[in-house]
């Protein structure tokens, strides 16, 4: 029954978008973490989506293949009194672009909502199918 597969597909997309939302939360929370476990400033993280084949031909779900770190240069802030400041008085701060993350957050949340609606519509269709011959 092909319609049941929609739950798998939309479900995979929802968990992928939720993971994306998680990395956004992590990036925003650590936007000012000048140091991390390995002593360097926190690096912005991004998820990589890829299509995942499903039971039916031509139909694919979504999975997160990897989480990549943004290796661009850290933001330099002039603050000579900061304990982590270098000899010129600059502190390296995380390379998190807050505006970009906010856009990412809205996009992930809308995509999640879309998949919830897809699932609900399909559920209604299946429930209607169950009523065949009853009315």
């Amino acid at each position: 029954m092909s319609l049941f597969n929609v739950f798998n597909i939309s479900g995979s997309a929802m968990s992928a978008q939720a993971q994306r939302l998680n990395t956004v939360a992590s990036n925003l929370a650590n936007a000012d973490s000048a140091t991390s476990a390995n002593g360097t400033p926190y690096k912005s993280k991004q998820v990589v989506f890829s299509a995942m084949p499903s039971k039916s031909p031509d139909v694919s779900g979504v999975k997160v293949t990897k989480v990549v770190e943004d290796n661009s240069a850290p933001r330099m802030i002039y603050d000579p009194k900061h304990p982590l400041a270098n000899d010129k008085g600059y502190v390296s701060m995380p390379n998190v672009n807050v505006t970009e993350e906010m856009v990412n957050m809205i996009s992930a949340s809308r995509a999640y909502q879309n998949n919830v609606e897809t699932m609900n519509a399909t559920k209604t269709m299946l429930m209607k199918t169950l009523t065949i011959g009853q009315g």
Binding site: A13, S50, P57, S60, G61, G133, G135
Partner: protein, 135 residues
């Protein structure tokens, strides 16, 4: 006798199968709205419907091993191979061709038509019952 009852319902039965598969494809498109290089797919409904109807008429469509002549023929569970790529309206930088407006439209349209087929089947069943009961 059973054949005739079956044949009366077979058109809408096939319509439901094709609609169900199309719903699955569109759900996959919505799920992969943020997957880089994903290409949106859809069925050509009229040709998929034709091949589904032909599959029922053509006994070779689904080759099962039968140990008796009296065994029934199977129906292939998916229409298979009919999915085509959508034309690109506005391409995006990551190579994704999902246009959410188109997909949402088609999803709603397909769901309504699916329910229409269910209503038709219910009507046919009612007519059959009326004929059987003679009331």
């Amino acid at each position: 006798m059973i054949n005739k009852l079956d044949a009366a319902l077979s058109f809408h039965q096939n319509a439901l199968r094709v609609r169900g598969q199309r719903q699955e494809l569109i759900a996959a498109n919505i799920a992969n709205a943020d997957t880089p290089n994903y290409k949106a797919r859809d069925l050509d409904f009229s040709s998929a419907m034709k091949s589904a109807m032909a599959g029922v008429a053509n006994k070779e469509a689904f080759n099962t091993n039968k140990t008796s002549d009296k065994h029934l023929d199977g129906i292939p569970s998916s229409i298979g191979g009919g999915a085509m790529f959508r034309p690109i309206v506005q391409g995006s930088v990551d190579g994704n061709t999902v246009d959410m407006d188109v997909e949402r439209n088609q999803f709603a349209d397909n769901a309504i038509r699916y329910e229409a087929s269910i209503i038709m089947i219910n009507g046919q069943l009612k007519k059959m019952l009326a004929a059987i009961q003679g009331q």
